[in-house]
């Protein structure tokens, strides 16, 4: 695998491979020496065009635990409207000798543009692009669910038959998109619940069911309830009348939480609006995986960095199997 741009492209085997390696990475997190020499001498650049301290720290910890050199490049505030800065920045990274670029960008597709542009030779990990995807978040959510559901027997397993409902602003959520593709690829049933204004106009091509009724969905006893963050700006865009009405209709409040089965998992990608989409009693309960999600994020990102950066590189071989393989991957992504 050369880039990780979206979970839409991952096969079941590829996804399980990443999750299994993440298990080994998680084991390292419990040792006294939490570091592996694997990516010694490699340079990983965290290229963030959008603020996200938690995601950046998670990638930084992952890269450092694999002994990579980490350069944090915060490009927020530079003029993306001029359109040149992504290319200029990329060329700077190339000159720095970046082996891997972790990019967060407010524009959907920017990581793909970076990956196929020819401006850089580095492997690209999408750390969230616009309202498109956030594949490592999807992977860490899948990892977290798999650990809760299968426990010690998780290795090699998918999420077959696991029933997940994702609640909230689906329209603008890259987390939701990455989870929809990945969880269903792994065999889960996904049901989306949102106000009609916050669902895409046409989800007929998505392998999910959708609805507007949270209470009805919860009555079906899902295994996982994933609550999405409501962004501040949605409250002023007439997507719903008021935060009070939103909470009353689509929030995981105390009564709804208490009515859940005791083994239903409550997830949230963070940061949470406590009291808006999720009540503190739900967020802080043992059913909540919010803190596990943070720890698992480092393991999953270590796994992704390992898978992308440890193998033979295009620049390492000009001919032979490696180059052919790279060519095949490029063709595949060009076809999409």
């Amino acid at each position: 695998m050369r880039h990780l741009l979206r979970t839409r492209d991952l096969t079941r085997d590829e996804a399980i491979h990443i999750l299994d390696i993440a298990l080994d990475m998680a084991a390292v997190q419990n040792r006294e020496v939490k570091k592996l020499p694997t990516l010694r001498g490699k340079t990983v650049v965290n290229l963030f065009f959008e603020d996200s301290t938690r995601t950046r720290i998670s990638f930084e910890a992952a890269a450092k635990r694999l002994s990579a050199d980490v350069i944090n490049f915060s490009a927020r505030g530079s003029s993306i409207s001029k359109g040149e800065s992504l290319k200029d920045t990329a060329q700077t990274l190339q000159a720095l000798g970046a082996d891997g670029v972790v990019i967060r960008h407010p524009v959907s597709g920017a990581p793909q543009v970076l990956a196929v542009s020819g401006w850089i030779t580095a492997g690209v990990i999408n750390a969230g692009d616009g309202t498109h995807e956030h594949p490592t978040q999807g992977l860490l959510d899948a990892f977290t669910i798999r650990q809760r559901v299968h426990g010690a027997g998780a290795r090699g397993r998918g999420l077959d038959g696991v029933r997940v409902i994702i609640v909230g602003d689906i329209l603008h959520s890259r987390v939701a998109r990455s989870n929809v593709w990945l969880l269903t690829t792994l065999g889960a049933h996904v049901h989306l619940v949102a106000p009609p204004t916050l669902l895409p106009v046409d989800t007929s091509g998505w392998p999910v069911t959708t609805g507007f009724d949270l209470d009805g969905a919860l009555a079906g006893h899902p295994d996982v309830v994933m609550m999405l963050r409501i962004q501040e700006e949605r409250m002023h865009g007439s997507f719903f009348p008021s935060s009070r009405e939103y909470t009353r209709t689509w929030g995981l409040d105390g009564p709804r939480f208490r009515a859940l089965q005791p083994d239903t998992i409550v997830m949230h990608p963070g940061p949470m609006n406590r009291g808006l989409e999720i009540a503190p009693i739900a967020a802080d309960s043992p059913q909540s995986t919010v803190r596990e999600q943070v720890a698992n994020g480092v393991s999953v990102r270590m796994s992704a960095l390992y898978v992308l950066l440890s193998g033979e590189r295009e620049t390492a071989t000009v001919s032979g199997d490696g180059a052919t393989e790279h060519h095949a991957i490029q063709q595949r992504s060009a076809a999409q």
Binding site: G83, L86, K87, Q112, V113, P200, V201
Partner: protein
């Protein structure tokens, strides 16, 4: 610049085109002399003429583009009147309507006269400026439409293209006002509120790849409103770059009702679909956006049955940096003059929906009529102005950079295999392109001056003067 003895001149002032296929299907020889078509059929006196072997080529009347962005004045890094009309010549066009969104905006007589005169002196094609509907395209108050109409540029088409005249009252006033000089309002139909931040067609794909949608209803609702306004005030509405099946239905309904509405479709909306956007390659970013395959099918049918009147390129050059970036930061638009005829061939002729006579209608006669242009869009017949294009419909080839002669290369067709090739273009009797190569600027400019002296220029003011002095 003054005419000097040493200015390069065209190979000759007389051209003998041998064995061309007319749009009627018959084969004929054509003699161009002194800027007019002197003979069609059997040429009896070709003395001194340059022979052009047209065996296997289709002779079309010179193409007319109702929707071109020449970018000058103000955006000369993207295109100039000279380079844009060179692109026109390469594509077989002999007349282009220059959109008003320049800097300064073409909202005064001064700007439209400047653009027209730049076109006339370059000589590659007739450049007919379009005037802005509102001052600065701001959508707040009417520009001096009458002054532009009475100017030497003789503006008849007015458009805020790039932006929609969304205020219904202002649109009504514009439609009413241009009746005074037989003008037409060309509307860029896009409800601004329904398309805030819009990046691509709204539908299943936009939801999947996470882009803000540009719903078809934002176009259709404006068209519906505008045809009703046009009916109410009895004026002529022209709809720019119609892009959805729904818009087709509205125009079809309006025409059936007798409303004076005409509509154009771009070549790219006849061929390309939104799936291309999934690559996030900004070459496919255009406004209105590429739509679904169903829309493409409806647009093709509507063009074939006359619901859509004309194909217009919406040639929109942009510098490399405006496309070599992430999608949202990229500019909207595609260059289209050089590829238009091949794309229409692919979408309409190769599919059996239209013949070459229909192509001549939608790419020449009808746009000239909508734009109130005389001297263009005329049939290939004796004593008509010698504006014509020779097209080789045989073979298919990869559309490459060498085919782009304008200043910008933001074509969505690069690397795509397209049929046919424009072989020659004659404007007022002199070649602007021969054997697929655009003629040198000095040669064309000199030929244009010569034509003007003969009274065969297509600048309206000059035409009038020469007619007067000759009579």
């Amino acid at each position: 610049m003054t005419v000097s003895e040493h200015t390069p001149t065209p190979p000759s002032a007389t051209f003998h085109i041998v064995g061309a296929q007319l749009v009627t299907g018959e084969h004929a020889d054509i003699l161009l002399r002194d800027g007019v078509i002197a003979q069609v059929g059997t040429v009896t006196d070709a003395a001194g003429a340059t022979r052009v072997d047209a065996d296997g080529l289709v002779a079309l009347p010179g193409l007319v583009d109702l929707h071109t962005h020449l970018r000058e004045p103000g955006y000369e890094q993207s295109e100039t009147v000279l380079t844009g009309t060179q692109a026109a010549a390469a594509g077989g066009f002999t007349a282009v309507f220059a959109m008003a969104n320049t800097l300064p905006v073409a909202d005064t007589a001064g700007v439209v006269e400047q653009v027209a005169s730049l076109g006339a002196s370059a000589g590659y094609a007739m450049v007919q400026p379009i005037g802005a509907v509102t001052v600065g395209l701001a959508g707040e108050r009417l520009a001096e439409l009458g002054t532009m109409a009475a100017s030497r540029a003789r503006v008849r088409v007015f458009s805020d293209d790039g932006l929609c005249v969304s205020d219904p009252l202002l649109m009504r006033r514009a439609l009413e006002y241009v009746k005074a000089f037989d003008g037409v309002i060309a509307q860029h139909a896009q409800d601004p509120r329904l398309t805030v931040g819009a990046q691509m067609n709204e539908g299943a794909l936009s939801g999947e790849i996470g882009m803000v949608g540009w719903p078809g209803v934002a176009e259709e609702s404006i068209i519906a409103r505008d045809v009703l306004l046009a009916e109410h005030v009895g004026s002529h509405l022209h709809v720019c770059h119609l892009s959805t099946a729904g818009s087709v239905e509205i125009v079809r309904w309006a025409k059936a009702r007798g409303i004076r509405v005409t509509a154009e479709v771009t070549p790219h909306h006849l061929l390309l679909t939104e799936e291309l956007v999934a690559s996030y390659d900004p070459r496919y970013k255009v406004n209105p956006p590429l739509r679904r395959a169903e829309d493409v099918a409806a647009l093709r049918d509507a063009l074939a049955d006359g619901t859509i009147d004309t194909v217009a390129t919406d040639h929109a050059p942009h510098p490399i940096e405006a496309k070599e970036c992430e999608w949202d930061a990229a500019a909207n638009g595609m260059v289209g003059l050089e590829s238009a005829l091949s794309v229409v061939h692919e979408a309409m002729v190769a599919t059996g929906l239209m013949g070459w006579a229909d192509v001549a209608r939608v790419l020449s006669a009808t746009p000239a009529r909508i734009g109130r242009l005389t001297g263009h869009g005329r049939p290939i017949a004796t004593d008509e102005p010698a504006n014509l294009t020779l097209y080789d419909p045989r073979g298919r080839s990869s559309f490459d950079l060498a085919r782009l002669v304008g200043q910008s290369s933001n074509s969505p067709y690069l690397g795509r295999v397209l049929p046919g090739r424009v072989v020659a273009t004659f404007h007022n009797g002199y070649p602007t392109q021969l054997d697929g190569v655009v003629r040198p600027a000095e040669e064309v400019a000199a030929a244009a001056r010569l034509a003007e002296q003969r009274g065969r220029s297509d600048t309206p003011e000059d035409n009038g003067r020469h007619r007067f002095t000759r009579s």
